[in-house]
Amino acid sequence: MAKRSAPEVNAGSMADIAFLLLIFFLVTTDIAVDSGLSRKLPPWEPDINTPPVIIKEKNIFALTLNSNNEILLTSGGDSELLAIKDLQERTTAFLDNGGGKDEDACKRCKGAKSPESSDNLQKAVISLANDRLTDYKTYITVQNEILAAYNVIRNREFIKDYPNLKMNFVEATAMYQDKGADKKVRESLKEKLEAIKLVVPQKFSEAEAQRN
């Protein structure tokens, strides 16, 4: 019998194996993009006796979270339990009320102009206090809804002031933070975003958690 050369190994299925591995890695990879609610903490000022700032009661939207994850709203002298699903709407209504007169009048507000609620966007303060036993998820939900309320108003004002940009405040912020976008565009966006932040400031104070 003639001497035969060794048969060639069939490499055709190699591609299949490699594809299988590739797909496995594609599926299991989550390229972790961290995202979340960005906040800024107030600086620590130990034992400085600053006189308390006096704010009219109607300008405060005080939220208290208890250990059963219930939300108590105190605003304009009344207290009530609030459901999470109503929170954003009520917050927006409070911020946007514009009940101020004369020098306190709010030109941008589109709210009910109730004298019992906030004067204008500059004066409206949201205060949040939580119990040490409040669940984190409730806290995050409340934070999210308050931010959402501010974003609703900021979006509206951004579109009103810069209608030719065809985007809202949130989209503009995302574009500003996108490193790939054109530098000139980002610079001009920065100015506009800052202007809107001045018009609709986030006056949001957090009390330290209560001990119990």
Partner: protein, 158 residues
């Protein structure tokens, strides 16, 4: 019969797929290298809550991570069932937060120190008590930029 044979001779040779595995392997290696499996080995439960008003964290700027949650099942015997703080690979007490931030700052170039963001990865079933203490410590050490890291989703399903 001869008709068919003729055609076969005149047709184009099949495209060689011999290099296909090489291409696919290259992709595979790319994904294997680019995959970050997990930065810290978590000793606590860490299911993040959902939120929809989220901003992306800029990876170019320095980020430090603080994890809070109940110890995971394997560690319950050692660490109990109360909420704990994890810094790097160890469960630490609240007092360690300041030195942790100091250590993180020491790793950075000086001009980057003010841009340090602290990403708080807190389990959604954790209580606010520990987080409040951590926030006080962060204020004391002047690390004021924080981010409550969340997943994207509807808050009402939290």
């Amino acid at each position: 019969m001869s008709k068919f044979k003729k055609k076969k001779d005149g047709g184009l040779p099949p495209i060689s797929t011999a290099s296909l595995p090489d291409i696919v392997f290259m992709l595979l290696f790319f994904f294997m290298v680019a995959t970050v499996i997990k930065e810290d080995n978590l000793k606590i439960q860490n299911k993040l809550p959902k939120a929809n008003q989220i901003e992306k964290l800029d990876k170019q700027k320095p980020i430090s991570y603080i994890y809070i949650g109940k110890p995971s099942e394997n560690y319950v015997d050692t660490y109990g069932t109360e909420d704990r703080i994890q810094l790097n690979d160890k469960l630490q007490s609240v007092k360690e937060v300041q030195s942790f931030i100091a250590a993180e700052r020491a790793k950075l170039a000086e001009e980057l120190v003010p841009t340090l963001t602290v990403s708080l990865k807190v389990d959604k079933d954790a209580k606010m008590g520990v987080l409040t203490d951590v926030k006080q410590e962060l204020r004391k050490t002047n690390a004021l930029k924080i981010n409550y890291t969340t997943k994207k989703g509807d808050v009402l399903t939290n």
